[in-house]
C-alpha cells in the first residue's frame, strides 16, 4: 500500500477570501479569510501575517497569526499568535511566547456540535459557493 502524497492547500500572502473555507486536508493560510475555516484532517495552519475573521475548526490547529473568533481543535492546539475568542480543545494545548488570548480556554471530552443550524448554514454556504 502506497503512502498518500502530502496534500496541503496554501493561501499565500496577498490573498483575501470572503466566505467559509472547508477542506479535507491541510491548509496553510497567510492571507485574509473573512469567514469560517474548517479542515477535517491534517494541519490547519494560520501563518504569521494571516488573519481569519470567523470560526477556526480543525484536527490539528496551529495559530501564528490572528483569529477573531472561536477556535476548536480535536487534537493538538498550538497558539503562538493572537486569538480573540474562546478556545476549545480536546487533546493537548501549547501556548507559545507570542500567544495572546482574549477569551476562555475550555477542554472538552467529546466532540459536540454546539449549533446544528450553523452547520446547516455552512453546508448551504458551501453548496451555494460551489
Amino acid at each position: 500500500m502506497k503512502s498518500q502524497p502530502l496534500n496541503v492547500t496554501l493561501l499565500s500572502t496577498g490573498l483575501s477570501i470572503h466566505g467559509n473555507v472547508i477542506l479535507d486536508h491541510g491548509l496553510s493560510s497567510f492571507g485574509i479569510v473573512d469567514g469560517s475555516v474548517v479542515s477535517n484532517s491534517g494541519l490547519l495552519h494560520i501563518g504569521q501575517g494571516g488573519m481569519v475573521k470567523g470560526q477556526v475548526e480543525g484536527e490539528h490547529v496551529r495559530i501564528d497569526g490572528t483569529v477573531e473568533g472561536d477556535v476548536h481543535a480535536r487534537g493538538v492546539l498550538e497558539i503562538n499568535g493572537r486569538v480573540k475568542g474562546n478556545v476549545y480543545y480536546y487533546g493537548t494545548i501549547r501556548l507559545g511566547p507570542r500567544a495572546s488570548l482574549e477569551g476562555q480556554i475550555k477542554r472538552k471530552s467529546e466532540l459536540t456540535i454546539e449549533n446544528s443550524s450553523n452547520v446547516q448554514q455552512l453546508s448551504r454556504a458551501a453548496a451555494g459557493n460551489a
Binding site: 500500500m1 502530502l6 491541510g26 484532517s41 491534517g42 494541519l43 495552519h45 484536527e59 496551529r62 487534537g75
Partner: protein, 273 residues
C-alpha cells in the same frame, strides 16, 4: 517561511497510513497457535498432563487414605482374632478339665456331706458349655454309682493306681459314708479286735475278692459276720486298721484308701441315699 518549511510542518502532523499485512504478521508470529487447534475439542497433551496431575493428587491421597484404613482394619481384625482366640483357649481348656477337679476333691472331703456343685462358682461360661455339650452341673454325678453297687474292678484299680486316681473314682455318695461310719465308733472298735471273725461272710467275700488278694486285712473285714450289723460299718472301720498305719497321722490319708472297700459292702446302701 518558505514552502519547504511549510511542507515539513505539515508532515509533522500528517497521519501515518496504517498498513495491515496479514501474511507478514502471520510470518512474524509463527509460534501463535492456529485458531483451528483451539477450536478443536481435543486437548493438547500438555493440558491433559496438567489436568491429570491436578486430578491425580486427590486421587492419590484418597488411595493412600484407603490403603491406610484397610491396613488398619486388617491389623485390628487380626488383633481381635488373636484376643478372641486367647480368650477361648483357656475357656476351652477348662471345660474338659472341669469334671476332674469336681470329682477329685470329693474323696478328700469324705467327712463333708454330698456336694454335687462344682468346687468353683458357676459362671456364664460354664452354663454355656453345659448347654452346648448337653451336660448339666450334676452330670458328673454318676447315677449308677448311687443305685448299683460299685463294681469290683474299682478296688484293684485303687490298690494299684495312685491315690489321685482313686480319689477321682470316688463318688459323692461314698463320701457320706464316712460320717455315718464315724457315728458308731464303739461297734467299729469291736471288729478291730475280731478281724479274723469277719472272714465268715460269703456274700462280701465275692465282692471284695480283688481287695483281699492284695490286702488280707480287707479280706478279713469282708468276712466279718453280716448278721450282727450292716456290712458297711465294719468295713468302713476296718480299713484304717487294715493298713497298719505307721502313725496316727496316716489315718487321714488312709481314709480315701478305705473307700474302695466301702462300695464293696454298699449293696444295700442305696436306701440310705
Amino acid at each position: 517561511m518558505d514552502i519547504r518549511e511549510i511542507q515539513a510542518l505539515h508532515a509533522q502532523y500528517t497521519a501515518q497510513p496504517v498498513i495491515i499485512d496479514l501474511s507478514s504478521h502471520t510470518a512474524a508470529m509463527p509460534m501463535l497457535p492456529a485458531p483451528e487447534r483451539s477450536a478443536s475439542g481435543l486437548l493438547p497433551p500438555r493440558a491433559l498432563l496438567s489436568k491429570m496431575r491436578s486430578a491425580g493428587r486427590p486421587a492419590l491421597l484418597a488411595l493412600a487414605i484407603a490403603a491406610i484404613a484397610g491396613a488398619g482394619g486388617v491389623s485390628a481384625a487380626r488383633i481381635w482374632q488373636a484376643m478372641h482366640a486367647t480368650a477361648h483357649v483357656p475357656h476351652d481348656a477348662q471345660t474338659p478339665g472341669r469334671p476332674a477337679p469336681a470329682v477329685a476333691p470329693q474323696p478328700a472331703s469324705a467327712d463333708r456331706p454330698v456336694n454335687a456343685a462344682p468346687p468353683r462358682p458357676l459362671t456364664s461360661g460354664d452354663l454355656d458349655t453345659a448347654l452346648t455339650s448337653g451336660r448339666t452341673p450334676l452330670s458328673h454325678v454318676d447315677p449308677k454309682a448311687l443305685t448299683a453297687p460299685t463294681p469290683v474292678v474299682v478296688a484293684p484299680a485303687h490298690d494299684s493306681q495312685p491315690a489321685a486316681v482313686t480319689q477321682a473314682a470316688a463318688s459323692p455318695i461314698r463320701a457320706t459314708r464316712a460320717p455315718a461310719a464315724a457315728a458308731q465308733p464303739p461297734q467299729a472298735s469291736e471288729p478291730d479286735a475280731t478281724q479274723p471273725a469277719q472272714r465268715q461272710d460269703p456274700a462280701l467275700t465275692t465282692r471284695v475278692a480283688a481287695n483281699t488278694a492284695s490286702n488280707p486285712a480287707s479280706q478279713a473285714e469282708s468276712v466279718q459276720p453280716a448278721a450282727t450289723r450292716p456290712a458297711l460299718r465294719p468295713i468302713h472301720h476296718i480299713k484304717p486298721h487294715r493298713e497298719p498305719a505307721p502313725s496316727v497321722a496316716h489315718d487321714a490319708p488312709a481314709a480315701p484308701a478305705a473307700q474302695p472297700t466301702a462300695p464293696a459292702a454298699k449293696s444295700g446302701d442305696v436306701q440310705l441315699f
